[in-house]
Amino acid sequence: MPDRAEPPRAGIASSPMRARGWRDLAFAGAPLVVLAAIAPALYGNQLLLFNFVTFLALAQGLNVIYGFTGYLPFGYVGFFGAGAYGFAITVMDFHLGPGAGMAVAAAASVVLGMILSPLLRLSGAYFAIASLAAAQALYDIVSNPALDDVTKGPYGVSLSSVFAPDLSYNVAVGIFAFATLLVIWLRNARFGLALRAMRDDPVSAAMAGFPIVRGRTIAWLLSALIAGLAGGAYAWHISVFYPETAFDISFSIFAVVFTLFGGAATLLGPVCGVVLLYGLYNAIGITVPQYFQLIYGLLIMALVLFLPDGLASLLTRRGIRVP
């Protein structure tokens, strides 16, 4: 298709890149989403599948901010928890339906993202730690017995009135589809390219005309939105949970590890990370999670020392493009 709407403005957002985007969608993104959608027909443990889809969405959501901008939010779970509790409060305190709950989940995470966006002024490690502190602070607020009337404090929430496992599963698949589209777009549009340029050198990216503050804020809010939606769907699907489940730091840790392991800033890297590592996690068994913690701890160390760009770099190093 010739670029009529957008004159030669960008030698890059043009046909070859766009064609690549469609190819990624057709041969990688779409099949994955379809597989996630039909999986319950092939395998009986819906809760396990739901967890897989949730981690796929979270890993891609983290990929949006970490892979493309280099900001690593250890407190990513904060958005997930905000979404879960946004959903719960809407259903529990305002007696509205799950649709409204999901809308509030989305809004809560985006608002939280806006409140925390000044953290993006911090560089690497400080940002990572400050975001973790923010997630912990949010957990402390939500779980505070003083807020019993609103959040049920540490005693947990029950949302059995809206329980709908099939529908909420499909919503989670929809969120994964959204995250997948977003990553494909970032990988093949000039906005994603500019974000990666900013990751390498913010000063020079600004000099190239890219509004870096706006750019990184957009990426941050999109990433927050995905986690918030995933949190809302999680609340809906599991229906009974506690603050320490919704704000479990493991969500952050897993999302980080899966993304790093597979290869950030690719579409398939985080997917491979989730499938292999979360598969391993379930194979080892949740009854002894320490063994898995030990394995992924060692894995992280090995990755940083020997393969900092993840599995995908084994191929990209040889000049093979990974979608």
């Binding site: 960008a10 390219l193 000063v203 503050v213």
Partner: protein, 242 residues
Amino acid sequence: MSRDAAPILEVTALVKRFGGFRALDGVSLSLHPGEVLGLVGPNGSGKTTCINVISGLYRPDGGSIHFAGHDIGGLASHALARLGINRTFQSPHCFLSLTVAENVAVAAAYGNGGEAADSDRVLAELDLARLADRPAGELNSAEQKRLDLARALATGPKLLLVDELAAGLNPTELGAMAERLRALAAGGMALLVVEHLMGFIDKVTDRVIVMNAGREIFEGRLAEATRDPTVVQVFLGRRHGG
């Protein structure tokens, strides 16, 4: 050279402080389209700070900067890039994980407010076309310097600030770079060049400003500067002494 036209850049009494230190202490200069102005002076005299303030990296603490009639003091770098100001860096700031072509593409896509920029032509002119698909991180330092310049040029600047582009280039590369900058000026671009190599300055500039301790101590042709007693004492004197 259109000396009679209005200047494209007009800097008046520019001040930049770092804590108590006045890195720029009332610098004024003006630059016309097609003109190449050299900025020379000993280390720490404020040359690079001057470029950093004009390019929006630092906010000015006093004075004014006008570009093509607009007051641009304190604008963000990306806005300046879109207005037509760009720069190279003393140590090249390339996007190391992006390919050479992508480096230029980002600037072409965002830097020129919708006007067409021909990335391929820029790459070819700077002798980078054959490296187009290589990651910038694999280039040697001379190639990275050219890429830094290519990134700046891809935004289609009307004013180019050049910070020590010549350092580290071999004599052949130096000559080529000097010709390149002259050609850009001949095309109507205004250039502000910071450089230590006097031979390069002599070849490239129409006029120089000599700076010391954040102030301007001389303005005129380089040949005259070398006969100015203050300049000799502050700048050349120190060089011989050192």
